[in-house]
């Protein structure tokens, strides 16, 4: 199977090389632009990390196939230099050190884990020769993080949408909250979540924690159920959420369960939670499948999903769309700024770039003031509400 895969890569590469050679004669000045990609290709973040890195590869391929980046009079072929942070903070820092050590301005994309991003942030935050487009990580970025742009949903948005969604349901007074205590984003948002529930007139009757990868949720759920909640909000990764839902049902809880985890069918199957998913909803930034089925940017999403599947032989993952869109945001900003090494100029373009200018963005990004993609370096998205029906998740609505 691996052999077949590598053969396919070879075939694509060969065809691509031929195309480049053919066009080389006509191009005026073709140079190479190196863009760094920091990804969690191994370690605990691997599953999502690889899906994110693949989408970056796909974006680069599409740009190069279309002739490369036109910056002023020069056309650049984009070359990726991918580094594996191994899902570890120190490995991420050393990788970033390596990029900086060449003494040239650094254009970087990627970063999946919040711990890795948080670890290299102090090194690059103030640098005038560094741009990082962070396509993963649950952290919330602001204008103070000068080098970082985050065209990816921040957990803060999940917090607000979750409360809005629950408020919209009928007869809900008591809320139980179960949080992954290794998930920096969710933990950071816990006080805000409680505040919002309070403002909405709901009472938090149980607030419990579990650790990423936990297999037993009995004590926590038992404690939450003592408060007789009308809804349980589970905040963590999909596979953990699926197991928690299963165990909540085993303990006799039949009420509404709301998560924001991007849970997928595989999570439900591995947890044997098929029957437990009734009356559970997941609020998440939409995946390609959700957009296709929910009829939002369906065509672009389908084209992306097909291209991804053709190239990598599997479905795209949780942050694939953000990575694809994020890469094009950077590419467009470079073209628009007309420079590859004047970082302040590129940043200036990024600050004002509009969603409409980057037609390759597939996710339902909500334009900010003046149609901008970023508000203080952070993007916002419409979220999808997903429900488990007949062995798969289907979108049942969007929260804008």
């Amino acid at each position: 199977m691996n052999y077949m895969k590598s053969f396919r890569h070879f075939a694509i590469a060969a065809g691509f090389a031929a195309a480049t050679l053919a066009s080389a004669g006509t191009a005026a000045a073709q140079e190479t632009l190196t863009i760094y990609d920091l990804e969690s290709l191994t370690g605990p973040g691997q599953t999502v990390g690889v899906a994110q890195a693949n989408a970056v590869k796909l974006a680069v391929e599409h740009i190069n196939e279309a002739g490369g980046l036109k910056v002023g009079d020069t056309t650049y072929t984009v070359e990726l230099d991918t580094h594996d942070d191994r899902s570890q903070a120190t490995a991420g820092v050393t990788a970033v050190q390596k990029m900086i050590s060449y003494g040239k301005p650094v254009l970087m994309v990627g970063s999946l884990s919040s711990a890795v991003t948080g670890a290299y942030l102090p090194i690059v935050r103030e640098r005038e020769d560094f741009i990082s487009i962070v396509m993963g990580a649950a952290l919330f970025f602001t204008e103070e993080d000068k080098a970082i742009y985050h065209p990816r949903v921040a957990v803060a948005q999940y917090t607000e949408s979750t409360v809005t969604f629950i408020k919209g349901q009928e007869g809900i007074k008591r809320v139980g909250v179960l949080t992954d205590n290794k998930h920096g984003g969710f933990v950071q948002q816990t006080p805000r979540l409680k505040e919002l529930f309070g403002e909405a007139g709901m009472e938090v009757v149980g607030e419990e924690e579990f650790s990423f990868g936990a297999t037993q949720f009995g004590p926590q759920l038992t404690a939450i159920l003592r408060g007789n909640p009308d809804v349980i909000n589970i905040r963590g990764y999909g596979s953990d959420v699926a197991r928690a839902i299963k165990q909540a049902r085993d303990l006799g809880y039949t009420g509404l369960i709301v998560s924001s985890s991007g849970i997928v069918a595989k999570d439900v199957i591995e947890a044997q939670a098929d029957a437990a998913m009734t009356n559970a909803r997941d609020l998440f930034v939409p995946l390609a499948g959700d957009l296709i089925e929910g009829g939002r940017n369906a065509e672009k999403a389908k084209a992306f999903a097909d291209a991804y599947k053709a190239k990598f032989g599997e479905e795209s993952g949780a942050t694939s769309l953000s990575a694809y869109g994020g890469f094009f945001i950077l590419a467009r900003a470079i073209e628009k700024a007309g420079t590859v090494d004047d970082i302040p100029a590129i940043r200036k373009v990024l600050d004002d770039i509009t969603v409409a200018e980057v037609s390759e963005i597939i996710e339902p990004m909500i334009p900010q003031e003046g149609g901008r993609a970023f508000r203080e370096h952070q993007s916002y998205f419409a979220l999808v509400v997903r429900e488990w029906r007949d062995g798969r998740f289907v979108p049942v609505g969007f929260v804008d």
């Binding site: 120190t90 820092v93 050190q97 711990a115 948080g118 290794k182």
Partner: protein, 329 residues
Amino acid sequence: MHRLTAFLPWLLLLAAMAAVLATGNGYYVTVAMLMMLWAILALGLNFILGYAGYFHLGLGAFYGLGAYGAAAFSASYQMPMIVALLVMPAAGALISVVIGPLMLRTRDLHFAVATLALGMIVSDVTNNWVAVTGGPMGMGGISRPGQIGIGALSIDGATTSGMFIITAAIFLALMIVAAIARRSDFVLILRGIKSDDMMTRSLGFSTTRYKVAAFAIAGAIASVGGVLYAHIVQYISPEPFTFFAASFQAFVVLAVGGLGSLWGPVLGSVLLTGLPEILEMDPHVKLLVYGAVLLIVTIVLPRGLASMGRVLSARARASANAKTKEKQT
């Protein structure tokens, strides 16, 4: 002749440090700092594990203590690094002295499990006491020291090279202390405890006091390592101080390098933290390699890499002897 061979490793070490610094390459300098960091942790562990023979599997607790203390001093109270560098080892030693007599009532496996539990508890606390440690969000905003020294001798601690010099200075100082300690009565008594606690006690030594001292030295040096880590990476989160990331790794570095040897921690660190970093090893592969190296070294070279020279020369001598014998007969 003997004197020269004793100095050779030191010269090599200094030369290697100078070479790394001369490249000015932030990546190599960072990797070298991490190597020194692990050598520091292992040489501290050597006192309680290598000399006294107590399986301390909770070093991460003190490493984390140093790092979180340093982060608090720097980020929350804007104190310079030197404050953390003085206070945290003292705190590490003090805590060790308080809990040491209790922990050291146990030995062998019990002590191993007790220290392991200590490390796990600290990991849990760093992850859950959000108000103080930042929980999984960790703590950032740790500022490195600025300009140190005068005139031509001054360095900028904020740069990676400056931080390297600070780390190297501390590392060398600790190596010299370790080299002196190795020949001291103190370490001799620790080795006596390892070989027979009861007998050592019967000779009139209060072995508990010595064991607690060794435990405290390991804790204090691990805290120094933590302070350095916080200032090298400038961001801390619970993960680097967990059992497999910290306590176990320090244990492996020392065990592979050579329990009770002076250069073992350095050799172990170069092989087990330097190489995997340069080779960008997949973390699972790295663990697999750790396991295999640990297994092979323990069985083939029970006294660690540091004994390799001795073992090889003994073999060479043995085979030379055999040959001369053959000639004679």
